[in-house]
Amino acid sequence: MISILEFLARLAVWLVLAPLLPGIINKVKAWVAGRRGPPVLQLYYDLARLWRKGVVLSTLASPGFIAGPAVAWVAVLAAALLLPLGPLGTSLSFRGDVILLVYLLALARFCTAWAALETGSAFEGMGAAREVSYAVLAEAAVITAVLTLSLQTRSVSLSAMLAPSAGTGAVLLAVGLFTVLLAENCRVPFDDPNTHLELTMIHAVLVLDHSGPPLAAILHGAAMKLLLFSVLLVQAVLPVGELPLVAAAGALIGGVLVVTVAVGLVESFLARYAFRRVPLLLTTAFLLCVFALLIAWKGGAA
């Protein structure tokens, strides 16, 4: 009974709290720009409205156009449920779950790109191509970060890997993972969630033809993914699993807030990069993770 309640609580955290993050980012951006900005809960209103709306489908779209966002949403949720939540720990932990997490995100990517290609639109083709191509570099950076944590803790299970802090290379790892977070969640400098010029975007152009409930699923999934990466980043860097209950909860919530505010600040002070420079930036993130890995490896030996 306890475990079911705990599982429901965990589910609620992911489902209910996730849409808060984009709201906070927008608030930060508005604050920096001296505007009042949309309410923090704006995404909740948007989701509710989209869920009630009807759907306009492209004449070319197959059933996969609706199934894609649904499967992608499930994949992100499943990946999120694998992640330990500070003091709550994890409900399901096994050897190799970290690889499953990486590949679940790949499943979500596959489904999103599939749904984008359904419409035969050149713009969505562009977006899908960019998404899957840049993900190659992002995935290399993520797996290197995973390797670092695994070397440090001698474990292949998320709950053990994320419990202690990342040690000497923590700063490198944090910057590397933060860059990947920006890339994977369509934030500046990789992508601009505010532009409406389809040519310049990656993720947002993927969903040009989606409307109504499928679009709601996509937006909610994106919010969950942002929360997932923030939680992963915070737990990789801070020793959340080794703190007492209240401190751990505080560290986790505070860390996620710091990451969110940082995303908003980056978005306020940086312009979007030219696409030519995106691979360069992602390679930098990868290299930062490689240096963290080298520190974990050689530092452990010394």
Partner: protein, 648 residues
């Protein structure tokens, strides 16, 4: 029923099917299916019980007594051969039917049966001489199947290239088996790990089997052969025939001692094959050629598992070696299943539209919903996505490598780059298969041929469904298949018998089931929710442009261009562009082609050099008899001088 009886039934079945290949296609199909099912049963028996079957006879072939053996390793490959062989036989009934191919359909059936027979014998032979005979026969059968459609010039060229490459490999195997027989004093094969002087022979075996397996620099024959063969032949070539190379490497790295560097080299070859195979695949526009390059990639993943097992042997660490090997061997099955499925799907597309050129296809899901969904399943599986089988085997390989990472020892140096590159390979394969599915099956049709396509019939759909069911079964219940892997691992290395199943395999299976169920529920729910008030249909939003056409869709080349640009240093794409000029341009065109770099930049220049040198030597042969008599006298004089000077 013992495996011996089952195998005898299977052999009878395949021999009977030979009698029906020309005149009685139904009898041929029935006997072939019975034969493959009994072979599958025999393999399953060995894999489930863990006992090997062995049979020696006094009957001599080439002066050697017949010695057959079915142990865990060979049973694993035999099971795959049976499944793909049966599926391909049924598929060919409609795909390569008699009315459409009056001459080659019968020959195709005949060679199909002989190919299955030879590959089966190859797996059973436990005598070096007989192994070589079966190897050569199997290579020849495959040649005749590849060139079934010999009217077309490129088919004949692909056949010759295959034959030449295959024999280069066979030459190395001749040397390997002769030296082995010379050093051991017998052609008989079996575990002989204690004879350390046999270790250097492994290099010969690695080359010979590597050519057949399509390991990266030796893969030159593979793309054109797979692309030009009939699709059911491509399926068995890619699904099973190239696995015979893997079988050889696994078999002889298990039976013979290997040099200390072998594990590292095999792993490195695996990593290189995986990354470059998928890079070349991204550059292709031909659907079947693209799938062929993915075979190179997957052979690489298998070799990473096998190579790590060899490294583990050198370090004496059974636990992670067994995991990596189990992952590699499971990937043999998985790749056999999903790649055959994909080739059969590509065959349906080719059958329906008459083209393999992806830029002429598009929007096929509307007319070919079965093919499209089964191909999509195969694409998700080969990209290593949960909850399908490709992920399970890659996960096992990952676990083996992560465990190597966390053990003291030199394995870390290889494990780190191998893990990172395996992850990148997965992401690249995903990009490639999103491209294939999107360009071929989604969007609008790019040519009239794609618009007039039709769905394939039950004989083509059935085998695809069987293969897809295999992919789903291994994905959802991987723990069911662990005993088979355990038997194979124990047969590879007798001391690794007590390796426990990874306890998380069951959890992973349950997670996969839950994920699949949840995904189905969510998709159905979202569908109902979106369909609530009926949906409005409208043209695709093209940013205000009023008249989008099918030719404005993203093409395969443009989709992959970001990644092919990163790999341009090895892909060397050839581009021909006519830019639009003046105010009212007459014509503009852009063409891009990715050649087979190793063949065209390395092998062919070398071949030209050899031809040039031989051209010089050929001047000696001119047809003038008196000059030949002069050669004879000079030769005799030279021999005389040699004998007199150094003869004693």
């Amino acid at each position: 029923m013992t495996p011996g009886l089952l195998l005898a039934t299977s052999a009878c079945g395949i021999l009977l099917s030979l009698t029906g290949a020309f005149r009685a296609p139904r009898w041929w199909l029935a006997t072939s299916l019975v034969s493959t099912l009994t072979a599958l049963a025999a393999a399953a028996w060995v894999l489930a019980t863990g006992g090997a079957w062995e049979w020696r006879s006094a009957f001599l072939i080439g002066g050697e007594g017949v010695h057959l053996r079915l142990d865990g390793v060979s049973a694993l490959f035999l099971a795959l051969l049976a499944v793909v062989g049966g599926a391909g036989a049924a598929y060919s009934r409609e795909y390569w039917a008699d009315p459409a191919h009056p001459a080659s359909a019968r020959l195709g059936r005949w060679w199909w049966s002989t190919l299955l027979l030879c590959m089966g014998l190859l797996l059973l032979c436990s005598n070096g001489l007989h192994f070589l005979i079966a190897w050569e026969l199997f290579a020849l059968c495959a040649y005749f199947l590849i060139t079934l459609d010999g009217q077309r010039r490129e088919v004949r060229a692909a056949g010759w290239l295959y034959l030449a490459a295959s024999h280069a490999g066979t030459l190395a195997l001749f040397a390997f088996f002769s030296l082995l027989a010379a050093r051991t004093g017998s052609w008989d094969l079996g575990p002989m790990r204690e004879q350390a002087n046999l270790a250097p022979l492994f290099w010969l075996a690695l080359f010979g089997f590597g050519v057949k397996g399509g390991v990266f620099p030796l893969h030159i024959w593979l793309p054109s052969a797979h692309a030009n063969a009939p699709s059911h032949v491509s399926a068995i070539l890619s699904g099973v025939a190239i696995k015979m190379g893997i079988y050889g490497i696994v078999r002889f790295s298990g039976w013979l001692p290997v040099p200390p560097a072998a594990g590292w080299l095999v792993t490195t070859l695996g990593v290189v094959s995986a990354v470059l195979g998928v890079a070349f695949a991204l550059g292709q526009h031909d659907l079947k050629r693209l799938l062929a390059y993915h075979s190179v990639e997957n052979i690489g993943i298998i070799l990473m598992g096998v190579g790590f097992a060899m490294v583990a042997t050198a370090h004496g660490q059974a636990a992670w070696g067994a995991l990596a090997l189990a992952g590699g061997l499971l990937h043999v099955w998985n790749h056999g299943l999903f790649k055959s499925l994909l080739f059969l799907g590509a065959g349906s597309v080719l059958h329906a539209t008459g083209t393999r050129e992806m830029s002429r296809l598009g929007g096929l899901w509307r007319v070919m919903p079965w093919t499209a969904s089964l191909f999509a399943l195969g694409a998700a599986a080969i990209s290593g996505l949960p909850p399908l089988n490709g992920f399970v085997s890659e996960w096992l390989v990952y676990l083996g490598m992560f465990d190597a990472l966390n053990q003291p020892g030199a394995a870390v140096v290889v494990a780190i780059p191998a893990i990172v590159l395996l992850a990148m390979t997965g992401a690249l394969a995903l990009a490639c298969f999103v491209k294939v599915c999107g360009v071929v099956f989604l969007g609008a049709s790019r040519s009239p041929a794609a618009g007039h396509a039709h769905e394939c019939g039950p004989w083509m759909r059935g085998p695809m469904l069987v293969l897809a069911a295999g992919c789903v079964a291994i994905g959802l219940a991987p723990f069911v298949f662990w005993p088979a892997l355990h038997t194979a691992v124990a047969a590879w290395r007798g001391t690794w018998t007590d390796v426990p199943a990874p306890e998380s395999l069951t959890t992973l299976g349950l997670f996969h089931v839950a994920l699949a169920a949840l995904a189905a529920v969510a998709a159905a729910w979202l569908w109902r929710r979106a369909h609530r008030g009926g949906w409005a249909r409208a043209g695709t939003w093209d940013c205000g442009y009023a008249a989008p056409t099918a030719r404005m869709q993203y093409t395969a080349g443009s989709f992959a261009s970001i990644i092919t640009e990163w790999f341009a240093w090895i892909l060397r794409p050839e581009r021909h562009a006519h830019r639009p000029e003046e105010a009212f341009p007459r014509r503009a065109a852009f063409e891009e082609h990715t050649p087979e770099t190793v063949l065209e930049r390395v092998i062919q220049p070398c071949a030209r050099l050899v031809m040039w040198l031989s051209g010089g030597a050929r001047r000696l042969q001119h047809g003038r008899t008196h000059a030949y008599i002069l050669y004879l006298i000079l030769g005799l004089a030279a021999v005389a001088v040699l004998t007199l000077a150094w003869g004693r």
